[in-house]
């Protein structure tokens, strides 16, 4: 048997070794995070204070790029569009997801319930760029959407959906709804599965109807899932790029222009890396400003 002091020293050494191994295991992930997230972010902040075309000499301009962000009508318009997209990327998918998840839950487990979950989730595995192209065809003057309206006797509603100033933004927004509804439904369904079934039995014994059950048991039980989904989808709305890029390119006029596409254009077409970086930083802060309160709300509600 060894001396107690020596044993304590050995234990300390072992603990130190474990800590070292722990840090060692962290290194790859940490290196990737620093190299691909923190470092580019720091560079982006640096670029945003310069007038730089990406190749030549960069000149320090202070906050001028940031002032331009808030003075430019096109930039502000694109931010407004991004906020309108939240309705289609967040409110519709989460709302429809809630309804569908509740309905699927009430279905008997079987092939129909499985099939509906699979079909709803399918859009999630399609690349957004491909979804944008496919939907652009369907929205065209002679596309599927107008054909279906024709069959239903609603031919008078037919229009080139992506070329009409009034319908272009809702039309691209609905592509996002289509993609995200599956994700929301599946996640909410998992959340419903976690809710204690005795709560449902209790409220049914108390004679509550569907609405009462939904608002008293289902909705509060899904608080965390809803918070996660709202966070994810709001970020998807504010930083949307691929759907818009492949379907409308921001047109007609600037009716569907979004910050993501504009940043790409300013940076890589107009070669104004400084301005693009400044707009990117503003967009990041904007996303944080919207998302952090959502996080706080969900956490406060947990207490």
């Amino acid at each position: 048997m060894s001396h107690p002091v020596a044993r304590r020293a050995t234990a300390r050494a072992a603990a130190r070794r474990v800590t070292l191994i722990g840090w060692g295991l962290l290194v790859p992930a940490l290196a990737a995070y620093l190299g691909f997230v923190v470092w580019p972010l720091a560079l982006g902040v640096q670029y945003s204070f310069y007038d730089w075309n990406g190749v030549g000499v960069a000149t320090w301009v202070g906050v001028e790029n940031y002032l331009k962000v808030f003075a430019d009508q096109a930039l502000l318009g694109s931010i407004t569009n991004a906020f309108i997209l939240i309705a289609f990327f967040t409110i519709i998918p989460v709302g429809v997801g809630l309804v569908l998840a509740t309905l699927i839950r009430s279905l008997r487990a079987g092939w129909f319930s499985n099939l509906s979950q699979t079909v709803l989730f399918l859009p999630q595995i399609i690349p957004l760029a491909a979804a944008g192209i496919a939907w652009a065809w369907m929205y065209a003057q002679t596309g599927t959407v107008n054909q279906v309206f024709g069959w239903l006797g609603l031919g008078f509603l037919a229009r080139p959906w992506l070329a009409d100033y009034g319908t272009a933004l809702p039309a691209v927004g609905l592509i996002g709804s289509w993609v995200l509804t599956g994700l929301c439904t599946v996640l909410l369904l998992t959340g419903i599965g976690k809710i204690d079934t005795s709560l449902y039995e209790a409220i049914r014994i108390d004679g509550a109807g569907w609405w009462r059950e939904f608002f008293t048991i289902t909705l509060p039980g899904l608080r965390q899932e809803i918070a996660v989904l709202v966070t994810l989808t709001v970020i998807a709305a504010l930083s949307s790029f691929d759907i818009i890029y492949t379907s409308t390119q921001g047109g007609p006029g600037r009716a569907t222009m979004v910050p993501g596409l504009l940043i790409y254009r300013i940076g890589f077409t107009q070669s104004d890396v400084g301005q693009a970086s400044a707009f990117g930083i503003v967009l990041m802060l904007l996303v944080l400003a919207v998302v952090l309160p959502i996080q706080r709300l969900s956490r406060a509600a947990d207490r």
Partner: protein, 141 residues
């Protein structure tokens, strides 16, 4: 139907039109250097070749203005086009395409403002002012 050149901004000034110059180059180490040069010379100077260009493309064959012009149907649009082309050549009024003015002007201004113009959301005057403003901001910025 009549085609005409866009009138100059000031009366009596020269006409201006957009177009791209046809420039050709031959690789120095090309195996058939002489044949290529002969062909390029032929297609720009030979009356038969120039006639083919006009018949097929409906565009001016370019080249030395003193060369005989290919024959076209009198009163046809192509006849007018060739006359206008000759005017632009004589007044030295050809400029490069507006879309090539700056790196971002095409996607950033000409396309969206054209869409607004053809759907009557803005006037021609507004179109010109907006594109000009974008051009200046891109040059300055």
């Amino acid at each position: 139907m009549t085609f005409f050149l866009a009138p100059p901004a000031k009366e009596g000034a020269g006409h201006v039109a957009m177009g791209a110059a046809n420039s050709f180059s031959v690789a120095a180490k090309s195996k058939h250097l002489n044949e290529i040069v002969y062909f390029l010379n032929w297609i720009h100077t030979d009356p038969a070749a120039r006639q083919i260009i006009v018949d097929v493309t409906g565009a001016s064959p370019g080249g030395d203005p003193s060369l005989p012009q290919p024959s076209v149907k009198p009163g046809s649009l192509i006849e007018q086009a060739l006359e206008m082309s000759a005017t632009i050549g004589a007044e030295n009024g050809q400029v490069d395409f507006m879309a090539n003015t700056t790196a971002g002007i095409y996607a950033g201004s000409i396309i969206p403002e054209s869409q607004l113009l053809v759907t009557s959301q803005i006037t021609g005057k507004e179109f010109v002012e907006r594109v000009q403003k974008f051009y200046e901001s891109e040059i300055g910025g």
